[in-house]
């Protein structure tokens, strides 16, 4: 694909002038949809994010802001998710069109009969990490033995944590787990020693509270579970592949733009969210860039191997009963122009 390629070139090289990559990408999509765009009304679609509006989803905001969605003939309504928010149900019930959720959710949903398909990954390197206060001296999984660790039960976070424990070969029984949500204070007050969170969000938040932190990356233990994937239903793909394609490509173009203009992206993000702090969002945006791995081929492209190790882990911890057909669980076909 040339559009995305040119974008990644832009990032990998020194800062290319915005105009170049953006305009070429615009040309590509608008030519695909040019015959409709002028005459027909925009098609309304809804995308349900995994979390509240923040720079974690900057690509979506930029695609909307820069008119990429409009060029694709789409009028996109970006809706925030939240804690315990069942975005998979919302999309698979047909009341919404696209969603962002973890790859684990995709596989589990398929097992439960909700035919969802991942269309692209956002962070190719998972933003999920465990982190500790510097003062605790804990820097590795091994150090967690005999300590109290916060665990976000049920989802992607628990899965990644358990896989890390397994891979590190530490005595799982010696770690005492404390179920936590999204409020950092148990870590700050020392109730727990390690905290599960996004390196682009909670880690920064802790630093903003004036704490120095040690980060334990899953990748250090050979683990990388896609945490944010863009998905839709099988039915949507069958019925309206054009819209799916248009949406995925416009979104990825938005990401491409955000990578190249992180400050502008943070500013746009603040407009989308409520009561967001520009400084925090700018940091989040900048921290996001390496995780997108724009240099590793077209943005959003997924690898079969990642899905299958994820599936093995899911079966390991019992979240998944039997193997799913990975070929139908995700597709890269819409990333290609």
């Amino acid at each position: 694909g040339c559009g995305s390629n040119s974008a990644s070139n832009g990032t990998s090289g020194s800062q290319a002038p915005d105009g170049g990559s953006a305009s070429s990408a615009t040309a590509a999509t608008s030519s695909a949809a040019s015959m409709d765009a002028g005459t027909q009304k925009l098609k309304k679609v809804v995308v349900r994010l995994k979390w509240i509006n923040q720079a974690q989803f900057a690509g979506f905001y930029m695609a909307k802001e820069k008119g990429y969605y409009k060029d694709a003939g789409l009028d996109v309504d970006i809706r925030p998710g939240g804690s315990d928010f069942p975005s998979v149900q919302m999309v698979s019930s047909g009341s919404e069109d696209f969603g962002v959720t973890g790859a684990d959710q995709i596989l589990m949903s398929r097992e439960k009969g909700a035919p969802v398909v991942a269309l692209s990954v956002i962070y190719r390197s998972t933003p999920f990490v465990l982190f500790t206060l510097k003062s605790s001296g804990i820097t590795s999984m091994k150090d967690l033995e005999g300590q109290k660790v916060g665990v976000k039960l049920g989802g992607n976070e628990e899965l990644t944590y358990r896989a890390m424990v397994n891979k590190a070969g530490v005595k799982a029984k010696s770690i005492s787990e404390m179920p936590v949500k999204f409020d950092l204070s148990p870590l700050l007050t020392g109730q727990v020693k390690a905290w599960p969170g996004y390196v682009i969000n909670e880690v920064i938040a802790a630093q903003e509270q004036g704490e120095e932190v040690n980060v334990i990356y899953p990748s250090d233990y050979g683990i990388n579970f896609y945490a944010d994937t863009l998905f839709t239903t099988e039915k949507m793909i069958q019925k309206d592949p054009e819209t799916v394609k248009g949406f995925v490509q416009a979104t990825m173009k938005g990401w491409d733009y955000a990578i190249n203009h992180p400050d502008e992206a943070a500013q746009v993000t603040v407009q989308f969210g409520d009561q967001l702090n520009l400084e925090h969002e700018t940091k989040m945006m900048k921290a996001s860039i390496p995780l997108l791995e724009a240099d590793k081929g077209p943005l959003g492209q997924m690898e079969e191997s990642q899905w299958s190790t994820l599936q093995d882990s899911l079966i390991d911890v019992g979240f998944l009963k039997k193997k799913q057909d990975l070929a139908s669980a995700f597709t890269n076909e819409f990333i290609q122009p």
Partner: protein, 250 residues
């Protein structure tokens, strides 16, 4: 001091005292902001944004409150006039009453989306049972002799309803309204927790994610104020409507 003045002065003095102690404790023990903000920290973050979110929550709550009360009262009328309906449905209604809305909220969002309606529905569900239970009680609270009086003068069913049952039930209905006025806010907030981008519930969650404890406290306080506003309105309506009864202060 007259009793009236005391009635106002005592709680104010007490509240001011509490706030001062709170402020002092936070400062003296240097409690971190994210654990317990001082009242002054909380006051500082009160702004139009907070009021806007409070407005959104109040809107959802009032809508759910009104719908639930209309529906609940109509159901009570059905129950009172149909024995099988009452005998069959009422026990189930009581069983349902013990179902926590918090547990239902995610389902509501799946079924009704993340717009107003899922919050309105949560508010409705939580307000429905108090009004149903109290209305049935109230519509049945008719004195036996009063009923006999109407029967003796061959009053029709409709006359018995409008001139006897309805006025008799009013004190019960208004007491239910007072109970559910604060529950309505709880329902809306629970709905907002699951998925929304405005309202006090959203603000509480957002501030908890951002570790913005002062905003969180301001949102909680706003929820209490919203509840008090609804309660106050109902209480003043009550005084007018059931003029023939001395009304409880709670």
């Amino acid at each position: 001091m007259t009793t009236k003045i005391k009635d106002v002065l005592y709680p104010i003095a007490f509240a001011v005292g509490l706030i001062l102690i709170w402020e002092a404790v936070v400062r003296i023990f240097d409690i971190p902001l994210y654990l317990l903000p001082a009242p002054s920290d909380i006051a500082r973050v009160v702004d139009g944004e907070l009021l806007r979110n409070m407005g959104a929550t109040l809107y959802e709550a009032v809508l759910g409150f009104l719908l639930a009360n209309v529906l609940g009262f109509l159901t009570a009328i059905l129950f009172v006039h149909s024995r099988p309906a009452e005998k069959g449905i009422f026990p189930l209604a009581i069983a349902l009453k013990t179902t926590p809305v918090v547990a239902l909220a995610p389902l509501l969002v799946i079924w009704l989306g993340t717009g107003y309606w899922s919050k309105v529905a949560a508010s409705m569900i939580i307000c429905f049972f108090p009004i149903l239970v109290n209305s049935v009680k109230g519509l049945k609270a008719v004195e036996h002799e009063a009923w006999e009086l109407f029967s003796a003068y061959k009053g029709t069913k409709a006359e018995i309803f409008w001139k006897l049952r309805l006025p008799t039930s009013l004190p019960y209905v208004l007491s239910a309204l007072k109970i559910s006025s604060s529950l309505a806010i709880v329902g809306a907030i629970v709905g907002e927790f699951v998925g929304s981008n405005k309202g006090l519930g959203y603000l509480v969650l957002l501030s908890s994610y951002h570790l913005d404890t002062p905003v969180m406290f301001s949102a909680i306080a706003a929820a209490a104020v919203a509840g008090l506003i609804l309660f106050g309105i109902i209480a003043s309506v009550e005084k007018r409507v059931i003029f023939w009864q001395k009304v409880d202060e709670v």
